[in-house]
């Protein structure tokens, strides 16, 4: 039920800052993450160190770019199961071309273009043939994974010889802050802002909320869906290139199961699987929550046999609390 306009409106109406904060959709998640931080900083002396923080952010920064694409796609009413394979395919294509002697920047552009093409391919099947995103992206997930295997013979590509200025994208830092984190933040902030404010992205909300109503208002909804589908794959391509630069290798099996993680992040952050609502900010908080929980369990040396149980339970609890807080907020706002 949240959306940016409401948010801004609420924020403007709020008289004192605390009330303002409590009105924002994402407040519940922020509080939950803060609570985890407080608990963890008591539980482990290593938690609140710069190195640990950096490791935790690095663990989801690149995936966060995919989360952005998925959130926008979900808002428009779509879904994409192929994100993991398409990300891997970007690495594999760029890596193979580089090994074949192509300039790495050019190779990356080609790979991103290929991923964009895959997105357009999916968009075509969804908007022109009329198939459901789920089944199209499932098929493409399988095909793209197959293509990864085919291009590499199933073996990871070692790309140690990538030029340092290329590796800088994935491994470099500006001051103490890794470039990856900077890129991630820029992508997130740009898309968050545009999704709240730009006319182009508001159409994504309209389309996802009620495609027919949007079409009646003259919005070319098929084109919107085509574009969000393409954008999501393009962002996967970019993520794949950053991963490649970061790891100096291309792994054909990269990103297995990434789709569930990414969708979960968006949904925890308030995106609706029925389209029409969601925010980038929320989705990134969702990704952060998942990552912080995983990292914390690793840091505390919790037995692996317990980790999944705890992780799942925290996820369920967090989502329930968030849901409860939002219900209260909505009710409170009306009373």
């Amino acid at each position: 039920m949240e959306n940016s306009i409401e948010l801004t409106a609420a924020a403007k109406q709020g008289s004192n800052p605390v009330k303002k904060f409590l009105r924002i959709r994402e407040t519940g998640l922020i509080l939950i993450i803060l609570a985890l931080f407080v608990a963890m900083s008591f539980a482990s002396p290593y938690f609140l160190t710069w190195v640990n923080m950096r490791a935790m952010v690095m663990a989801f920064a690149v995936e966060g770019i995919v989360v952005v694409g998925m959130t926008i796609l979900l808002i428009s009413g779509g879904i994409d199961l192929s994100v993991g394979s398409v990300t891997a395919l970007a690495m594999v294509i760029a890596g193979s071309l580089f090994l074949a002697g192509v300039d790495p920047w050019l190779a990356s552009l080609v790979a991103i273009a290929a991923c964009t093409g895959i997105g357009a391919f999916m968009g075509f099947f969804v908007t022109r043939i009329g198939l459901h995103h789920f089944i199209v992206s499932l098929a493409v997930m399988v095909i793209a994974r197959g293509a990864c295997l085919l291009f590499t013979g199933g073996r990871p590509l070692g790309l140690f010889s990538l030029p340092p200025e290329f590796k800088f994208i994935g491994q470099g830092s500006i001051g103490p802050v890794p470039l990856v984190i900077i890129v991630f933040l820029v992508v997130v902030l740009c898309f968050d802002f545009m999704l709240r404010r730009s006319t182009a992205f508001r159409k994504v909300f309209y389309t996802g909320s009620n495609e027919k109503a949007a079409a009646y208002s003259g919005i070319r909804t098929k084109r919107v869906i085509f574009l969000t589908t393409t954008l999501c794959s393009a962002l996967c391509g970019i993520a794949g290139i950053i991963y490649m630069a970061r790891f100096g290798s291309a792994q054909p099996t990269f990103g297995l199961g990434m789709e569930l993680n990414v969708i979960a992040a968006a949904v925890i952050g308030g995106a609706s699987l029925n389209g029409g609502s969601g925010t980038i900010f929320g989705a990134i908080l969702g990704a952060a929550l998942l990552s912080v929980v995983s990292s914390s369990l690793a840091l505390l040396d919790v037995s692996v046999y317990w980790q999944d149980i705890i992780r799942g339970s925290i996820l369920l609890t967090a989502v329930s609390i968030d849901h409860y807080l939002n219900k209260k907020r909505d009710a409170g706002g009306k009373a």
Partner: protein, 312 residues
């Protein structure tokens, strides 16, 4: 105390991916047993996921604790170069096992010799069904050690036994249902099939079910072991399994890490002082493998082995 011994609190970490996998269990037992002998503390760490990003994050979190050494199974070689080198320059010694990061500064690498396993399997197949015949493999593309076990066997057969024809090659990705389906189809298409080689045990379970159902007498050989395939070996449904010596892997893994952390006892005849690398450098340690047959199967029940032991 004199001699090699851990200072109090001196910790060694074993870091893996898919940390719930049973393969690590005896490895860690070996690691721990060696550590106990030297009075050291051990931690089992890593990520439950098949996710390189998460494993690197967990490795970096291990580093925050400043352990004396980390025995790591790097999910991929190159992505670990930078983290491993950073750990070493921060004073934590790193040794790899079961998968390597050869371009990093890790001081040692302990593994099974997949080529030797493949060669042994090929020879055994030929010994059992003769030099001419049909064989098939199941595989798991993308997983390097499984890949090696399969491709090495195929290459070896081609070179040494041209009469052996590879008639089926299916990806099953450790999924017993997929293995069932693939094996059933291979059996259909190749009534003359003599043997099948499977690089891990999960697929072997499904494959055996298909072979039993088809009442075929194909010779089954596989690597690794699970209780179910063990029972099949005892029952004669599986001819034999080759199991890497996991305990030795962990034990030698600890030794190599510990020695790297205590390298002051060693002054080798080389340039380590001027070049600044760790004097305890071991490019490759083979932990060996065991051949599991009907006769010795009882010694390979992991559940029996683990009785009374602490997995953590």
């Amino acid at each position: 105390q004199e001699g090699l011994h851990c200072a109090s609190g001196e910790t060694y970490i074993m870091n893996v991916m898919v940390s719930g996998h049973p393969y690590w269990v005896p490895v860690y037992q070996g690691f721990k047993q060696a550590a106990e002998a030297f009075g050291c503390t051990t931690v089992f760490s890593g990520t439950p996921d098949y996710d390189i990003t998460k494993q690197i994050a967990s490795f970096e979190q291990d580093m925050v604790k400043q352990p004396a050494g980390i025995l790591v199974h790097p999910m991929q070689s190159d992505p670990f170069i930078e983290p491993i080198n950073r750990a070493i320059s921060d004073g934590t010694q790193v040794v790899t096992f079961a998968a390597d990061s050869p371009k990093s500064n890790r001081s040692a690498y302990i593994t099974s010799d997949n080529l030797a396993e493949a060669k042994f399997a090929a020879e055994e197949i030929v010994k059992q069904i003769g030099e001419t015949g049909q064989y098939a493999v199941l595989e798991n593309p993308g997983q390097s050690n499984h890949d090696l076990r399969v491709t090495a066997l195929i290459d070896y057969m081609q070179q040494h036994y041209p009469g052996m024809e590879l008639v089926g090659r299916q990806a099953t990705n450790q999924d017993s249902t997929a293995a069932y389906r693939a094996t059933a189809s291979i059996l259909q298409a190749n009534p003359e099939l003599g043997a099948i080689w499977i690089p891990e045990a999960g697929s072997a379970e499904g494959a055996v079910a298909a072979i039993l159902e088809a009442k075929s007498d194909v010779l089954v050989m596989h690597a690794d072991i699970t209780p179910a395939t063990l029972e099949h070996i005892k029952a004669g449904n599986i001819h034999m399994a080759l199991n890497p010596n996991q305990g030795m892997q962990g034990f030698m893994g600890f030794m190599a890490t510990f020695m790297a952390a205590h390298s002051e006892v060693f002054d080798p005849f080389n340039d380590y002082r001027t070049s600044g690398y760790n004097p305890v450098q071991i490019p490759f340690i083979d932990n060996g493998f065991a051949v599991i047959t009907k006769d010795n199967a009882d010694s390979f029940d992991l559940n029996t082995y683990m009785q009374g032991r602490d997995p953590a």
